[in-house]
């Protein structure tokens, strides 16, 4: 009887060990991946030391940059208008990506179209003060449906650094994952009705 009980305990312990091992991230990227808070368009999403609210999602066939130059994407420009504020201390948002349904990630600021207002342009956010800004992404039109905005205060360009991902001191940073809420029909309509020559310079109002 004792032998059977011992064997059972051994089996349970072995199963537990396998489960723990299987659920422990084994690569650096996953172990120190951002701690994500999820939300959707129109609602504030708190993530670590900051809060962000996506107000509007639009698309454009071309945009006019701050210098008056008309820039055309290979795919389509997705223009996200959002507001952000910090919760306790000064903070700068550094990274914005659009993750598509199939897991691909597109960085903002493409083809010289920078993010001009209050979001990633080196603006220091403070508690209780909302800063509005626009983010511009260039993605293939067919991938817009189901996409999610990722925003964090982790410095950009981290995957290219020889030290690996993330840079030292920015492990487990907070990230806001905001679903743009576009199903296939809505995404198709947004792309079809996308205007030309949208100005992204200055306060989007």
């Amino acid at each position: 009887m004792r032998t059977v009980a011992g064997a059972l305990i051994g089996l349970v312990l072995a199963a537990a060990a396998i489960w723990v091992k299987a659920h422990t991230p084994d690569d650096y990227d996953h172990r120190y991946a951002p701690l994500a808070s999820s939300g959707h368009v129109g609602s504030p999403v708190g993530a670590g030391g900051f809060e962000v609210k996506v107000e509007k999602v639009g698309a454009a066939r071309s945009v006019t940059s701050g210098q008056g130059e008309v820039v055309r994407p290979d795919g389509i420009f997705v223009i996200v208008t959002a507001s952000a504020r910090s919760l306790r201390a000064p903070l700068t948002l550094s990274t914005a990506m659009l993750r598509t349904r199939d897991g691909r990630e597109f960085r903002d600021s493409v083809k010289g179209v920078t993010t001009p207002v209050g979001m990633l342009d080196g603006v220091t956010l403070g508690p209780g003060v909302w800063h509005r800004g626009v983010l511009v992404f260039e993605i293939p039109p067919s991938r817009l449906a189901g996409s999610t905005l990722l925003l964090s205060d982790r410095p950009a360009n981290e995957k290219e650094t020889p030290q690996g991902f993330p840079p030292f001191g920015f492990e487990l940073t907070a990230q806001a994952n905001i679903s743009l809420g576009l199903n296939d029909d809505q995404a198709r309509r947004l792309v079809t009705e996308a205007p030309d020559g949208v100005t992204v310079h200055g306060d989007p109002g």
Partner: protein
């Protein structure tokens, strides 16, 4: 009897095996985290930090937040260089902080010379009357341990 001894040994050894590495990690974290050692300066008083003296001439609400008028005087040659390593903030009573940026004036470049600096911090209107100005020593290459800071009472 043998089993009981093994169980007892486990009860003693396991907590120690978990606690000792954890204690080391907590010590490392505590030694390396940034924390301020704050000296409070009474209204109208002068504070000393980073080879320079600091005197707040006034904090007043403006349309978008608060404006701080500050006198900075390098006390020696080091103060003229290292005063660059300072960070300016305002804090409200609940501990929230906002960055203050220089809008006019600059560092004191000669020991003994007073530099008049004006800074602005964007804060919500409801705390503009209460926020206090803080100067932190914030070098680019920070050594582990506490960082000195001055908090100016209004």
């Amino acid at each position: 009897m043998k089993g009981r001894t093994a169980a007892l040994a486990l009860v003693v050894v396991l907590p120690i095996a978990v606690y000792l590495p954890l204690r080391e990690q907590l010590r490392y974290y505590d030694a390396h985290r940034v924390r301020d050692t704050v000296s409070v300066v009474p209204p109208g008083g002068v504070g000393y930090l980073n080879h320079a003296s600091w005197h707040v001439r006034g904090v007043r609400p403006v349309r978008t937040g608060v404006q701080v008028r500050l006198d900075e005087t390098a006390l020696d040659g080091k103060g003229t260089v290292e005063s660059l390593d300072t960070q300016f903030l305002v804090y409200d009573r609940s501990g929230r902080s906002w960055s203050a940026r220089t809008v006019s004036g600059g560092d004191s470049e000669t020991p003994g010379e007073v530099s008049h600096v004006t800074l602005r911090a964007e804060v919500p209107a409801d705390v503009a009357g209460q926020v206090e100005f803080v100067v932190r020593y914030h070098p680019l290459k920070q050594t582990p341990g506490p960082a000195p800071a001055l908090r100016f009472r209004r």
